[in-house]
Amino acid sequence: MSFASVSTVAVSLLVLGMFLLIFLNTNNLAKYLESQVQITVYMQDNANDKDLEAMSGKLKALPGVVSVKQVKKAEALNRFKERLGEQENLLSALGTENPFPNSFEVQVDVPERIKEIAPTIHQMPKVETAKFGQEVVEHLFSLTRILRFGGVVLVLFLSFATLFIISNTIRLTVFARRKEVVIMKYVGATDWFIRWPFLMEGMTLGFWGAVFAGAFVTIIYSMLLSKIYATLAFFPLLPTWPTMIYVDIFILFVGTAIGALGSFISLRKFLRV
């Protein structure tokens, strides 16, 4: 087991680790985007304060509703003014009239629940309409599904690539000792007796490769994170801790397991004597 084979394994596990982090972050981002989806409930103009209060209670009682925020007519107008910015004077055309209805912003625990809840809300008294940007949400969900699926496929693919590299590396050590293996077979060694030392070597190789890969991934990720936060403070990225603990454990486990599996595979040919 040389420095070269450890670093080969380390590099492939490093790539695997980086892609795992990209996958985890994409997943996190998808979850974040989904959680931003909310139902906006517009009330009819004839709804008085009592109705609004009752409505708020009813919304909170719905299954899966996490928060209900009431947006009063005046607040809605203010928000609109802010959005117009310098073109605020456009509003003067309205005079003292406030065309905005009272509304509620409803957030739910599982984004998929929105579809069930929205029609129910729509049926409630004094509700004008309950909107959640259906098409946008549909697109978002299909996008996050693709991202997740693609991520899983990519991580699996890279695991196989790592397995291939490790089993090739170990094939070289087995090849160097093939005479010994053959002699062991001739004097009556069982396959497991022959296999053990090679499995241990493969596992050690995978383990040390994983230690280096894990250390590098951790350093790279924390550096990258501080760079990104410096410019995009609120971008929803996973924090270094405890994320890296899971990633490092994953890399160690995969590295060691793949090391054992790689030895097992590369030995098969030589044991057939």
């Binding site: 005479k179 010994e180 053959v182 002699i183 077979k185 001739y186 004097v187 009556g188 007796f193």
Partner: protein, 228 residues
């Protein structure tokens, strides 16, 4: 000890190596297998330790049908055999002692038994004083003697030797045969493929001649019978 019944071997591609071979070898016999190159000697020898499987026929070694063995039973069958090759097949990075002890470690013999037995066997082949040398420091004859020590260290019932003197000069070859005789006198069955006329003629043992895949001659106190 060894019973082959109607054994034939056709290699992929149609090359017939052995045809309807029948042979019975009693415990304690010393048998030479002779014949021209390509006659099937090597195939015959390799079948005894199950490196080559026959296309048809049965092979019983010590009463066990070695073709019916499950893969995990094969190592235990081989532990009853001692195999010796023309090219010695020693491990160059291990000492003489370790090369011999290796065969015992592999079958998980307790450590204290290994030491005594290895030194005994090295005595038998006359190489105890070279126990700490490496194979490449030894002559061909000495290397073959280590290979013999390794083959007999586990007290096999049957020793199989494929051209053991093929790489040695005649005098050294005779010394090797002396060791084989001693092993045989202790009751171990020996089957040896060889090209060496002088050795076969001087030993006066059973000779089985194979030509074109068939046994053409099987004589007690036989001779080599070919021009050497």
């Amino acid at each position: 000890m060894l019973l082959m019944t109607d054994v034939s071997k056709t290699y992929p591609g149609g090359n017939v190596a052995l045809k309807e071979v029948n042979i019975h070898i009693q415990p304690g016999e010393f048998v030479f297998v002779v014949g021209p190159s390509g006659a099937g000697k090597s195939t015959f020898i390799k079948m005894l330790f199950r490196e080559v499987l026959p296309t048809t026929g049965t092979i019983l070694v010590n009463g066990v049908d070695i073709l019916a063995l499950k893969p995990r039973e094969i190592p235990y069958m081989r532990r009853q055999l001692g195999i010796i090759f023309q090219d010695y097949r020693l491990l160059p990075d291990r000492t003489v002692y370790d090369n011999v002890a290796f065969a015992m470690q592999v079958i998980e013999t307790p450590y204290r038994k290994i030491k005594r037995r290895v030194l005994n066997v090295l005595d038998l082949v006359g190489l105890r004083r070279r126990a700490n040398s490496y194979p490449n420091e030894l002559s061909g004859g000495e290397q073959q003697r280590i290979a013999i020590a390794r083959a007999i260290v586990n007290d096999p019932l049957l020793v199989i030797a494929d051209e053991p003197t093929g790489n040695l000069d005649p005098e050294t070859g005779m010394e090797i045969m002396q060791i084989f005789s001693e092993i045989n006198e202790n009751g171990t069955t020996i089957v040896m493929a060889t090209h060496d006329k002088d050795i076969v003629d001087s030993m006066g043992k059973r000779v089985v001649a194979i030509e074109k895949g068939r046994i053409v001659r099987d004589e007690r106190n036989g001779v080599y019978g070919y021009e050497s």
